[in-house]
Subunit: 406 residues, 4 copies
Amino acid sequence: MLQLDFHPSGRHFLSIPGPSPVPDRILRAVSYPTIDHRGPEFGALGRKVLAGIQQIFKTEHPVIIYPASGTGAWEAALSNTMSPGDTVLMFETGHFSTLWKKMAESLGLKPEFLGLPGVEGWRRGVQADMIEARLRADTGHVIKAVCVVHNETSTGVTSNIAAVRRAIDAAGHPALLLVDTISGLASADYRHDEWGVDVTVSGSQKGLMLPPGISFNALSPKAIEASRSAKLPRSFWGWTEIIEMNKTGYWPYTPNTNLLYGLSEALDMLFEEGLDNVFARHRRLAEACRRAVRAWGLEIQCADAAVYSPVLTGVMMPDGIDADAVRKTIYERFNMSLGAGLGKLKGRMFRIGHLGDCNDLTLMGTLAGCEMGLKLAGVPVAASGVTAAMDYLASHTVPVPVKAAA
Amino acid sequence: MLQLDFHPSGRHFLSIPGPSPVPDRILRAVSYPTIDHRGPEFGALGRKVLAGIQQIFKTEHPVIIYPASGTGAWEAALSNTMSPGDTVLMFETGHFSTLWKKMAESLGLKPEFLGLPGVEGWRRGVQADMIEARLRADTGHVIKAVCVVHNETSTGVTSNIAAVRRAIDAAGHPALLLVDTISGLASADYRHDEWGVDVTVSGSQKGLMLPPGISFNALSPKAIEASRSAKLPRSFWGWTEIIEMNKTGYWPYTPNTNLLYGLSEALDMLFEEGLDNVFARHRRLAEACRRAVRAWGLEIQCADAAVYSPVLTGVMMPDGIDADAVRKTIYERFNMSLGAGLGKLKGRMFRIGHLGDCNDLTLMGTLAGCEMGLKLAGVPVAASGVTAAMDYLASHTVPVPVKAAA
Amino acid sequence: MLQLDFHPSGRHFLSIPGPSPVPDRILRAVSYPTIDHRGPEFGALGRKVLAGIQQIFKTEHPVIIYPASGTGAWEAALSNTMSPGDTVLMFETGHFSTLWKKMAESLGLKPEFLGLPGVEGWRRGVQADMIEARLRADTGHVIKAVCVVHNETSTGVTSNIAAVRRAIDAAGHPALLLVDTISGLASADYRHDEWGVDVTVSGSQKGLMLPPGISFNALSPKAIEASRSAKLPRSFWGWTEIIEMNKTGYWPYTPNTNLLYGLSEALDMLFEEGLDNVFARHRRLAEACRRAVRAWGLEIQCADAAVYSPVLTGVMMPDGIDADAVRKTIYERFNMSLGAGLGKLKGRMFRIGHLGDCNDLTLMGTLAGCEMGLKLAGVPVAASGVTAAMDYLASHTVPVPVKAAA
Amino acid sequence: MLQLDFHPSGRHFLSIPGPSPVPDRILRAVSYPTIDHRGPEFGALGRKVLAGIQQIFKTEHPVIIYPASGTGAWEAALSNTMSPGDTVLMFETGHFSTLWKKMAESLGLKPEFLGLPGVEGWRRGVQADMIEARLRADTGHVIKAVCVVHNETSTGVTSNIAAVRRAIDAAGHPALLLVDTISGLASADYRHDEWGVDVTVSGSQKGLMLPPGISFNALSPKAIEASRSAKLPRSFWGWTEIIEMNKTGYWPYTPNTNLLYGLSEALDMLFEEGLDNVFARHRRLAEACRRAVRAWGLEIQCADAAVYSPVLTGVMMPDGIDADAVRKTIYERFNMSLGAGLGKLKGRMFRIGHLGDCNDLTLMGTLAGCEMGLKLAGVPVAASGVTAAMDYLASHTVPVPVKAAA
């Protein structure tokens, strides 16, 4: 077998914004024996995970689980609702919104890409007022969908989806609202039904703490209705047959059985902790991380405190510092992986993930690795970020007390 | 956690023709910690599995590994090579060839469905002469691809792909040859390059002994060339970017890391045993199974001995017997899953899988469960199939001797 | 890593009378992260397994769990209750009773070894009348303990412990009753309190379905009282401190944490099935096995039907056949391990285990391997034992119906 | 199943001086299917681990592997070499040396307990000159063995064993040298042969990174010779039969198969890293830890820099602080386990483990948890120990560079 850690000893710190560290409990679940996907045990599993995942999306409508990674669920959202040549209004929040736009083009759609100018545009969230203005101008209703990214993994900005909904409503526009929360789900609060989202796209390898390999489309009745007349060719991604067979807990084709075991376990873990506690924990760790960045005297990529991501923090490097060289030093010397700057930000920042199965001391190890690595890489550091983070964590109570011994 | 075996004790016999029983060794590999899909360890993993999977397909050309289950790889084969409205010649060998045809229609292609008439058509393999005749008649080269299933999982028939290649060549027709060997790969010999296949589609959960969740397209240079002008919209399935990034062992989007761990382990296991030994083992177990069926006095679904599948055996029920009731009895009483009759054969047969990590005694347990279940279900049984199978196995030497103790 | 199966493919059939095949569910439990054996989580684990194991022994008195394999628990039973030079009355039922006697000698005790003469003595159980007679003769109460083996793993004989108790009582003798049910516990009914046993010795790797490594002493108040004055030196095995610390769920020294995880899971599994169902399942499989042996025309080692073991069946070879050569053929050709003849029976018999996580089809695979191996090894076989076993299993209902799909 | 982490999320920091965190790689090995301990695969495993463990002890003589936890191996060392009433000279280095002495008494030996007076005696290592003086005085050679603890887990002191050997030799005394390095082996350099140790006792759950459950006696020819005449009763612990059967890779009774799988994997890991690199890593992490303690203004339990333990660091609390209350706060608030003060030090110190599969960032998380916990518990902290540790780690190169990507 390949040796999958090139370091001589100790646990690797996987501090990228996903795939997040998979808890042992889930890895064990993923290793259950594969069963007959047409048998009664599978049906019980299917019914459980389909019911549970609705609670995560906060929806009463169908959630499709694809045996495919997240990029596939992006495609599914578009191909089930759009027809060739349709115009979609997308908002540039960062690298992943750009990739989704590129996909729309590949599929024969006409994306219009709104956004604030330059790199600064990647430091703020979706601007709902710009969307509203554009939709008001679209009196002929050429725009068929508004596509936005909830948690932009490339920047650490979590946009206000409810505001986008209000913008669409204010414009009185019939466009569908398609939202990518691949990296936000189960880390940041998300409300598919309440926010009036038509298709929410998500994946397994972030807040759900699973390996990559399954992905989701949460639907609205309006989206299902749209799929009846949408003309983009589709088969694997088609909702209709899946929704029908999901009623009894099965899928029309072979599902990703072992990741569904993992999903079942992840749901148990999230509900045991309580979703609100999960969200509070993420917010607390994110704040500690930002205090460290500020203490170092470095800039946080997200420039608007209202939309700080609870999932990850982008750390900008001073001019003249290659962020990827810093990351390489940290990887080699401290056995830790950090996220790279992507697209327009390549080499200019690194990203710290603090999502999923994260806790105080894991974050402290991560921040210590950053602080030591910054110094070794010659980045001027104003003060100890580690100390700042400890000050915050020690003075802010944990959201959930330890269980009493049984 | 859900209880995933409804029986009180002992190991479930998963005797369906896939997903096949996943060896413990692979389940453990699947449970390795998920790593950074952009880090150096992942690159080493990627390069290993990409090189290894070429040996399994017997090709020197690129093999795409999708983080999606097998049905997706069907779609990928079509969407990368075809344009809307293209005619494809497909051959009806059973339920899965029918589903692939249905998919082609969903994607906006025009499938022509050749085949022998009626249920009898599902008892024989691809008729290469019918394909040749049809292609000769297509003087305008309207047909863009010939699509056939190598191992038809719904019937237990393994068609002669080399013969199909010869038929296309004899007709002097430029159509691409697309082959589904989802359930044949790594159980039955398969030669992508030698047989001149343009796209071979396969999956993980059969001869590769993995859980479902990754799938494959093996390509020819001609297929890659065709993809440059093919007009079906595609993004997730697109070959070009994947081929480019695979050169260094990475993927353009998040791969299914944990199943790639499993693939790495499966490749080690297959190469340790030796592919020729793997194929010989499957042929031997399949013959033992057929001897059991004949001893019972039941008919084997495959009516042409030249194309018996080494992967599974379809067992036809006498008139008046509901095969699904027999399967239910066997499931409940003997903790074993068998494959159902599909499509035209629903209720008329069951399918015994003898693929992947199978050996003599596992097969004997399986056949004993069938024999006891047949009797309990009131199916007249002429003689002991178990005895017939033992006679064959004990008198035919195993292909590989046990290792000497180190 | 060492390759731990020298066969090229498929699951090994571990059909020895222990270690029995460990269910995946328990192997996963055994792989939980090791925790602080002085922390609150460990206390909860300790309290659970200590309470559960009492139900398995059917006792309300303390059960000691040693972080040591079964042979150690033999020593513990003696060293906690005896003083140097004490006489113990032991009964020769087979190889393991002989080893226990040898241990008593090593520890400086004076074992008296009762038994029926010759090899025939190994085909019957403990003769309670012989014990009674000997105790009646011991008017000076020189004998301090009666030591018997409940399920003799070397022969497949399960002795009547209640009868031994009655014999001691009838003789009005104060000797302690020490019983080894290492291979019987959780497969054959066992009643520590009801049968008036003073120390019951058991281990993990048989009916409890665990790997070897932990073992047990179930105690009576009389045994605890005896330990206060017993003079054999002891420290690791000493009951007193363990009983004291067990009250809160801890141990005086480092326990075998990971096997206790396994024990917790095994208890869950046994209680889910129900102990009476577990015992009925073992009796049913044992009867099917014996029918196979009889059909082959071979002799069952146990010559008294009243004491047939539900755990294993000893199969005697005809004169001139080397049982170990038969076992070697079966191991090499059919990837199955059988138990060897031990001590006086070396080379004259082999032993089939049908204990722990066994079910119908696993047994059928085992019997098929035996039948094919016997033929290959040149042992004359009268008729198909496999057929005889199938006839029995198919006509005798399973004790527990399959669960309804949830 | 019991929930084995009472905290809502994230990985528990197991920062006690053993059991140390078991690497996933070893936990997976421990979950391999249990095999026949009399079969050829087991023999290959046995031969591998027996050869490998000799390299760890740096001996060419037999090493006994017991299927029992470390306390058992203490007993084995005494019971194989001593006779009832023998005098043994033991040195009080802390709690574990005291327990070993207590065991010697329980076994009927007469321990003489040398040591420096009071609690101060627990802050320094074995005083070889005191041993030499005592042995010189023992002109009648009443003392049969000198028993010392190499790495005293209760204090964080690693004594100089070579000096003890020299002391015995200087005195010209024939006593055996028995050494406990349960918590030192594979973390601190240890040389059984070179240092002339007669019996070395060790366990699995420390530097070997295994769960508890197996333990060791490394022997010298002189110890084996002594065992021939030693009169303490023994059976389970007896060396003779084990040495004989180990020659072919087997054991006289059932070994702890699954922990031997783990041992095989642990040996692979240690040899891959290189023992000298392993030791250097431990020394480096220990130094970083001590710098943190000093920065906090707290006292290190070990008062002699020459014998600082590379395995753990004892941290003394100021007067009036209950160390166990600090530990409880840290456990509850930061999901971390620390070692308690034991015996004379109960409530006066806590112990930080930095052994086994430890690395820089794990240690940093641990130290951050301590620093925050100290503040929360009201312990005055002079300066940031975390910062001091980072300064040291970042300025001292790692002993082994990261592997180049394959």
